[in-house]
Symmetry: none
Subunit: 235 residues, 2 copies
């Protein structure tokens, strides 16, 4: 996830050094690339010489205010998403921003969590970020692809449908790929209880999963005797 974001360029215009530094840090920590400008003219020029997937504009700026910058940006690129930051919660400013076509409007002070969520949501909306946490439900397993939500295991044209139990178990193994996961954890997570018969039942499922995955010899569900299992997935 983080690697994908590295390609996302954000133009950030803010004259408050302190806030500016913090916000830049926060965004960069999440893997975004951030160009930070201190005033409107600088921003306009940056926009002309680089391409951005998102613009975050403070409204109060020396030289040219955020609205003017936004209007300019809109002339150059009508679709790039724009977020305004404002110290005032004055409705007039808000409305002016919305009229220009702001995509979001955040009032200072804001929590970094809220800020990041808004940024992410906006990028998702505009299709820059891949949609929802769907990534979390698709696991590559060697030559296979395992789609947890759809309960299926895909290899080429072949789509093997899994039962709910099979899928739950396989998902846990994927979340711990190349690591040992104990029988207890598996049993408590998937079955909710840990006794002899449930354990034997799980062994039957492990057996099935091995069979399903047998067409890629590099993928293995190893047993760790007396402890649990370890699914080997080569990179």
């Amino acid at each position: 996830m983080t690697e994908e974001k590295k390609n996302i360029n954000i133009l950030y215009v803010e004259d408050d050094m302190n806030l500016g530094f913090v916000v830049k840090e926060v965004l960069e920590e999440k893997g975004y690339t951030v160009k930070h400008c201190m005033d409107g003219d600088d921003a306009i020029q940056k926009f002309g010489t680089d391409s951005f997937q998102l613009c975050i504009l403070d409204i109060m700026l020396p030289n040219k205010d955020g609205f003017e910058v936004a209007e300019f940006i809109r002339k150059v690129d009508a679709s790039v998403p724009i977020i305004f930051l404002s110290a005032k919660s004055l409705s007039d400013d808000k409305i002016k921003g919305l009229k220009i076509g702001a995509d979001d409007y955040i009032t200072k002070p804001f929590s970094t969590e809220e800020f990041l969520l808004r940024v992410e949501n906006l990028l998702k909306r505009t299709g820059t970020l891949d949609n929802d946490g769907a990534d979390k439900d698709v696991f590559p397993i060697g030559k296979y692809t395992f789609n947890y939500k759809e309960y299926c295991l895909i290899l080429g044209d072949d789509i093997k449908r899994l039962t709910e139990r099979e899928a739950n178990l396989l998902r846990l193994l994927c979340l711990h790929k190349n690591q040992i996961i104990t029988r207890e954890v598996l049993l408590k997570s998937v079955w909710g209880k840990d006794d002899y018969f449930t354990g034997r039942s799980m062994d039957v499922f492990i057996s099935k999963l091995r069979k399903y995955l047998s067409l890629d010899e590099n993928v293995k569900i190893q047993v760790v005797h007396g402890i649990g299992f370890k699914m080997i997935i080569p990179n």
Copy 2:
């Protein structure tokens, strides 16, 4: 402009009669069609039996709160834009809403001007305003064409008329084509309740739909045992 908007359906959930009435008026004056629900359960069912281009949800609701409604709606349609209304400007609520995937978050009280601007902006963003969102009710299903609004299923010259229930059910399957949709979601959306007999009733409808769709062998309504169904529509 106003004429185009006539095709835009808005689901509005608000238990405050006074505010509800005003907002409905304001939106309708702009040419939108507004379905106003008073509580969450009602909204969920409305969503299952009609198609909306925008949902506006109050957070404080009797029965089910706005977040729950949103989560359900997201299960049925992952892309429909959602705006939350909230009396509290509490950051926690905001964050919760954004996490669920709200597209905007408006704090009461708000001016009608700001409100309308946000609605329009959101609709522009999602492209609903451009193409007069008529497509939303016509679904290609393999060789068939399903027209939800007209309750009919067309294959060549043959026009099969569907009942309302049949159409509602088929629509939901279409919205989730090639994806698993759970029995619970189908039942809550189409019937508004989820019990044994309603479930059996649904099975009868599924059986009918399969029969209607049997002339295209590439179209299948698969069962996902213990979970729900998955309609396969080849591209």
